[in-house]
């Protein structure tokens, strides 16, 4: 029956699409950043975060960087109730924003903290990434804002800004796993 045959073919096509998406997600994970060794400390009524981030730049990202394309990352921090519902208040902020760029004249990599304008130059990429890897005592939230009756989670994600790439690169950055340089959300409980 042609109808059944068409349905079978449609199911096969759907399966292939799902497999393609899964493989995309798996391959995307190869170049995603990892958040390691996180620690939340409470001093006075303020919570502070210290984390170590592992960057894995893909070849395409490195090539783009070498050709003068600046790369941007945002460190996102989110504090929410646990267990919570979607209507519960969530504090979300961009804690840090980094720009990494290569300077051909000086043959150096420059890391710029977009929040305070600090610029650091490094002769090697690893040195530049190392600077961006270490976050120490990042202020999270004041304890007074939290409900003492509830548990809270702190979630952190390093978000690679594909929208800040040059315009011609953007469409391909969304479909190319080599441009998936963000990390997953990583959570830690906020101690009372």
């Amino acid at each position: 029956m042609p109808l059944l045959r068409n349905r079978k073919r449609f199911c096969q096509l759907l399966l292939m699409v799902i497999l393609g998406i899964l493989s995309f997600l798996v391959s995307g994970a190869l170049f995603s950043a990892e958040i390691k060794q996180g620690d939340i400390a409470k001093r006075s009524d303020e919570y502070f975060l210290s984390v170590n981030i592992d960057y894995h730049l893909s070849e395409k990202a490195k090539t783009a960087l070498q050709n003068g394309v600046p790369l941007y990352w945002n460190l996102l921090v989110k504090v929410q109730k646990y267990p919570g519902f979607f209507w519960d208040k969530t504090w979300l902020k961009v804690a840090k924003r980094y720009q990494l760029q290569y300077h051909a004249l000086l043959n150096m990599y420059r890391v710029k903290n977009e929040d305070n304008g600090e610029v650091h130059s490094f002769s090697s990429l690893s040195s530049a990434l190392e600077l961006m890897s270490v976050i120490i005592d990042l202020p999270l939230i004041n304890k007074a804002l939290l409900d003492p009756e509830h548990q809270y989670l702190c979630l952190i994600k390093l978000d690679f800004k594909r929208d800040d790439l040059p315009l011609p690169l953007r469409p391909f950055a969304y479909i190319d796993p080599q441009w998936y340089l963000s990390s997953e959300w990583t959570s830690w409980p906020l101690k009372k």
């Binding site: 090539t63 783009a64 050709n67 003068g68 394309v69 300077h103 051909a104 004249l105 000086l106 043959n107 150096m108 420059r110 610029v119 130059s121 002769s123 090697s124 040195s127 594909r162 929208d163 040059p166 315009l167 011609p168 690169l169 953007r170 469409p171 391909f172 969304y174």
Partner: protein, 718 residues
């Protein structure tokens, strides 16, 4: 019919959607410019347009699938829609693809024209030149710093603190610092009094310094400032390091920055060349795809609206073709198609009226035909109509009665075809066919033939039929069996003759005879012997002839008299046995009689019937002469739902000549030397007076044969 509002081919929602698609494409086009504020939304716009294309593709695909299904099912208007859509797609696609192809060509060529080898080389050279220039400057400052080492050798740490200010000023450095081997600051000097803490080398600088013994590098200080860092080893008791920071002149820094910016920009653009080309191609393809899909989709809606009245018309036409004339189609628009639909409705209305009238007329015609058929069916005369090829079109029941052939076997055949089946009708059918073929006007003819029941005589009248244009379209033959009528006329004539003969001739015969006898009596003695003999012979001749004339007159009288004087049941078998008993003593003659078992009773006059048997046997005896065989068969037959007693009488005598067969039963027809020729005429008269029939058996090859059929008496049968 109330006029309806003229509807646009495309409704408002479609126009709004089309506008949204155009707006989205325009926004994406604007976002392609990096300076645009919409550039941040580029990805979202691209996604939105892609989704829009997918939705449109789905809509178009669904429409194409539906159209294919309709075409496959041969639905009304589907083929017209398919043809119009194909035409539209071809007309829209061809120029769009041509424009797309050349746009892509121009686009790619335009992007490629931004880059060429010379500019590429110039950019690289400019950057290399800047690097070389700065490098040369660094090396010069390295040498300059190295020359200062000698002046520091042998100085204590305290003395070095004082000397370093002098050395900084001497070298023109912006900052100079002396570090111990462990990296401790021994002495420092800066041209900026606000700088309390000198610039400290990073870890990798120390590593490089310990490996090479010196370090020099150019580093940015602020946004557009450059600084040369030179560190050399001071060889004293304990190794020390002298770091000197030289500011790069602003002009040189600006120039280097400008060169770097341009070079970096060019390199970035060069790197993005393929992506840029792909990106523009993607956007252009998306614009083309969306425009085409939207146009095709709108075309589907428009063409569907346009062909809707055509579909209705096709449905209506099919309904009319299948005989449903009451079909009224809705008028969807007051345009040409609407006018066509109105005309169609008028047409079907008129056809319905015409059909009703035709039906009415048809009923009338049918009634008339039935009436005519009834008349024709009840006519005693046979009526047969022929077409122009002389094939029988109609025949009435009377024709069947006359020819003894069923009407159904007449229709559709020519008379010549019937001849092959019905041999006994050869003569009349051939005669009628001949007359039909040759007569151009009304004709009339008597046709006599020997049928299965004996001689029959038909009175035929025919007329050819002509159309209004004068062409011959067939003919009609009306015929009547006048055998009985003719016979009755003949019998009446002969009866009258016989009656007059009896009256006019028989009366003078007796005086003639008496007068002759008296002459003989008076004159016999007066004449001599010879004259007396003459007189006697003459008188004897006169008396004999008068006697013969008397007999003849008696025969005629007998013929003229009614033969059925009484009516009683007569057993034919017994009667024949009685008659035969009178003749069995004759030598040389053999009689062979067969009687069917059962009673063979007829109602009639036994004397007359006995006379019939006597006459026929006498004829046979005269025919066979001294020796011969006479056969008599008596049995019952069923003919035309009537029971008959059939008497068949055969002899092996001389037989009857063919030319006399037809007239053998007419008075005064005889084959014998003696005889009045009234014997068989009287026989036939008696038989017919009893409701029977007699005829000569034509199938008899030897001698003569007569067949008599008399109606059997049913009361006796039961």
């Amino acid at each position: 019919m109330a006029p309806e509002k003229i509807k646009p081919p495309v409704n408002l929602s479609v126009l709004i959607l089309f506008g949204l698609i155009l707006l989205s494409l325009q926004l994406m086009s604007s976002a392609m410019q990096e300076s645009s504020e919409l550039s941040a939304m580029y990805s979202w716009l691209l996604l939105f347009n892609t989704l829009g294309s997918v939705v449109l593709l789905f809509l178009v695909g669904a429409n194409i699938y539906a159209l294919l299904q309709h075409t496959k099912r041969r639905e009304a208007g589907s083929r017209l829609t398919a043809r119009m859509m194909s035409l539209f797609v071809v007309l829209a696609l061809a120029p769009a693809i041509i424009v797309f192809y050349f746009s892509m060509q121009f686009l790619h060529q335009g992007i490629d024209s931004w880059f060429n080898v010379e500019i590429d080389r110039a950019m690289e050279d400019a950057l290399e030149l800047s690097q070389a220039s700065l490098d040369q400057r660094m090396r010069g400052q390295l040498r300059q710093t190295e020359q200062l080492i000698d002046k520091l050798e042998g100085f204590s740490e305290n003395a070095a603190t004082l000397e370093i200010e002098h050395l900084r000023e001497l070298s023109g450095a912006s900052e100079m610092t002396l570090f111990s081997r462990q990296g401790r600051i021994i002495a420092s000097s800066s041209n900026n009094p606000a700088d309390i803490l000198p610039s400290l080398p990073e870890e990798h600088i120390w590593l490089q310094l310990r490996q090479n013994g010196f370090f020099m590098a150019l580093a940015p200080v602020h946004e557009h400032e450059l600084m040369v860092r030179v560190i050399v080893t001071v060889k004293s008791i304990e190794s020390q390091y002298l770091q000197a920071l030289y500011s790069v002149p602003v002009r040189i820094a600006d120039l280097a920055d400008s060169v770097e910016f341009a070079s970096a920009r060019y390199q970035e653009m060069s790197y993005l060349r393929s992506s840029l080309r792909m990106s523009f191609s993607l956007a252009l393809s998306l614009v083309l795809l969306m425009s085409l899909l939207a146009a095709i989709w709108v075309a589907f809606i428009s063409i569907r609206n346009i062909t809707a009245p055509v579909k209705e018309l096709v449905k209506g036409t099919k309904a009319v073709a299948s005989g449903h004339y009451d079909q009224i189609l809705p008028v969807m628009a007051q345009d040409d198609l609407g006018f066509l639909v109105e005309s169609f409705n008028d047409m079907t209305n008129r056809i319905a009226q015409a059909r009703d009238e035709t039906r009415k007329v048809g009923v009338e015609v049918e009634n008339q035909r039935a009436y005519l058929e009834t008349i024709l069916g009840n006519l005693t005369a046979g009526v047969i109509s022929f077409d122009e090829t002389f094939k029988i079109r109609t025949a009435n029941q009377a024709a069947y009665r006359i020819f003894r052939v069923h009407v159904n076997q007449f229709v559709g055949k020519t008379l010549m075809e019937l001849v092959e089946t019905y041999v006994e009708l050869v003569e009349p059918l051939k005669s009628i066919q001949h007359l039909l073929e040759n007569a151009d006007d009304i004709w009339q003819q008597r046709i006599a033939f020997l049928g299965p029941n004996g001689r029959q005589e038909l009175l035929c009248r025919g007329t050819p039929l002509f159309s209004q244009e004068g062409f011959r379209v067939g003919s009609v033959v009306v015929f009547d069996d006048v055998t009985d009528l003719i016979q009755a006329q003949k019998n009446a004539a002969w009866g009258e003759v016989a009656r007059r003969l009896a009256h006019e001739i028989k009366n003078p015969l007796t005086p003639i005879q008496l007068s002759a006898e008296r002459l003989q009596l008076k004159l016999a003695n007066k004449l001599d012997s010879s004259d007396g003999a003459i007189l006697q012979r003459s008188i004897q001749t006169i008396v004999q002839q008068v006697e013969a004339m008397k007999e003849m007159v008696d025969d005629f009288s007998e013929y003229a008299k009614p033969s059925k004087k009484q009516s009683v049941n007569v057993n034919i078998s017994h009667l024949i046995q009685e008659v035969l008993a009178l003749y069995t003593l004759r030598e040389g003659i053999r009689f062979k009689a067969r009687y069917q078992s059962g009673l063979q009773i007829v109602n009639g006059d036994p004397v007359s019937i006995r006379q019939v048997i006597h006459n026929l046997i006498k004829n046979s005896l005269e025919a066979v002469g001294l020796e011969g065989l006479i056969e008599i068969n008596v049995h019952r037959v069923l003919k035309n739902n009537t029971d008959y007693v059939e008497i068949a009488l055969y002899d092996n005598g001389a037989g009857i000549k063919e030319d006399q067969v037809e007239k053998i039963f007419e008075p005064y027809v005889t084959t014998k030397v003696k005889g009045t020729g009234l014997g068989l005429a009287i026989v036939k008269k008696i038989i017919e007076d009893h409701g029977g029939a007699i005829w000569v058996d034509n199938g008899r090859k030897v001698g003569a044969g007569f067949i008599i059929q008399l109606p059997a008496c049913n009361s006796e049968l039961s």
